[in-house]
């Protein structure tokens, strides 16, 4: 598995983390109603979207590089 393949795995795991972290922060906000939690939650979802977009860009850019 080359760095390319590992990076794709990494991006997938990261986007899962950001999505999960976002949900966690929103739940925290719904219980406590604090400003920071809410902002972090939204930021995390945005991060997830950015990561997914980046992943697509990365795959396109490295079409020629081996997965091995």
């Amino acid at each position: 598995m080359s760095l390319k393949a590992f990076h794709v795995v990494f991006v997938i795991v990261s986007s899962l983390l950001t999505a999960g972290f976002g949900l966690w922060a929103i739940r925290q906000w719904s219980v406590r109603g604090d400003f920071v939690s809410g902002m972090v939650g939204i930021g995390s979802f945005v991060g997830c979207a950015v990561l997914l977009w980046y992943g697509r860009w990365f795959l396109r850019k490295l079409k020629g590089v081996s997965w091995l």
Partner: protein, 207 residues
């Protein structure tokens, strides 16, 4: 026997499709998985065997007083550092040493930033608040696991600094070999980041 006579140091092996260094790095990472796996298993076992009340009870999320905001920021730093790491490798593959070294430098800087956050915003304040290693099993494990991860980060920084500095001489004689080494560094660095991605929710978020 110097390395240059040995086959498959640079070119991939026809069966595995990997050059020796990459194969070795994956094996090393497999053992690292077992190492961190042992710590996570210990965490799970100790958590479930802890008494439900009393001094030795497992602290709930609120009792831990860990700053998930700082840790979340640190997670972001590490994710970005992985991206810059890949960019360094891509630049080298595109035959651009200067850009590759620049990205490596950025990665090392981000890693240092992570450590700085960790030490100055988490370890030192926590320790002064009385959450030391002997405070509870949870904090013992917190310091052990993040500390071991921190040591891996330091190791990564040292390797990157080596490849920015003296290690980059290899580029002149064998650019492909140098690029391969950066790829191996990248694999290691991705693994270190993945460990953090598992550590972060386990220690900071889960109850």
């Amino acid at each position: 026997m110097s390395a240059d006579v040995l086959p498959y140091t640079v070119k991939p092996h026809p069966i595995t499709g990997l050059y020796s260094g990459k194969f070795g790095m994956w094996l090393f990472l497999a053992s690292e998985v077992m190492l961190f796996g042992a710590f996570f298993s210990s965490y799970i076992l100790l958590k479930f065997s802890a008494p439900s009340e009393g001094a030795a009870a497992w602290p709930t999320h609120d009792e831990r007083h860990l700053s998930w905001v700082v840790a979340g920021a640190n997670t972001l730093v590490l994710i970005i550092s992985s991206v810059t790491m890949v960019m360094a490798w891509l630049s080298l593959k595109g035959n651009n040493l200067a850009k590759g070294r620049l990205f490596l430098g950025v990665t090392a800087a981000l890693a240092s930033l992570f450590l700085a956050f960790k030490i100055f915003l988490e370890y030192i304040p926590h320790w002064h608040e009385g959450y030391t290693t002997s405070h509870s099993v949870f904090f013992g494990l917190y310091y052990t696991m993040t500390g071991l991860h921190g040591l891996h980060v330091i190791g990564g920084i040292l390797v990157m600094v080596y490849f920015i500095g003296p290690g980059s001489k290899l580029w002149r004689s064998d650019p492909e070999y140098y690029t391969n080494r950066i790829e191996c560094t990248g694999l290691y660095w991705h693994f270190v980041d993945l460990v953090w991605i598992v550590l972060f929710p386990t220690l900071y978020l889960m109850n």
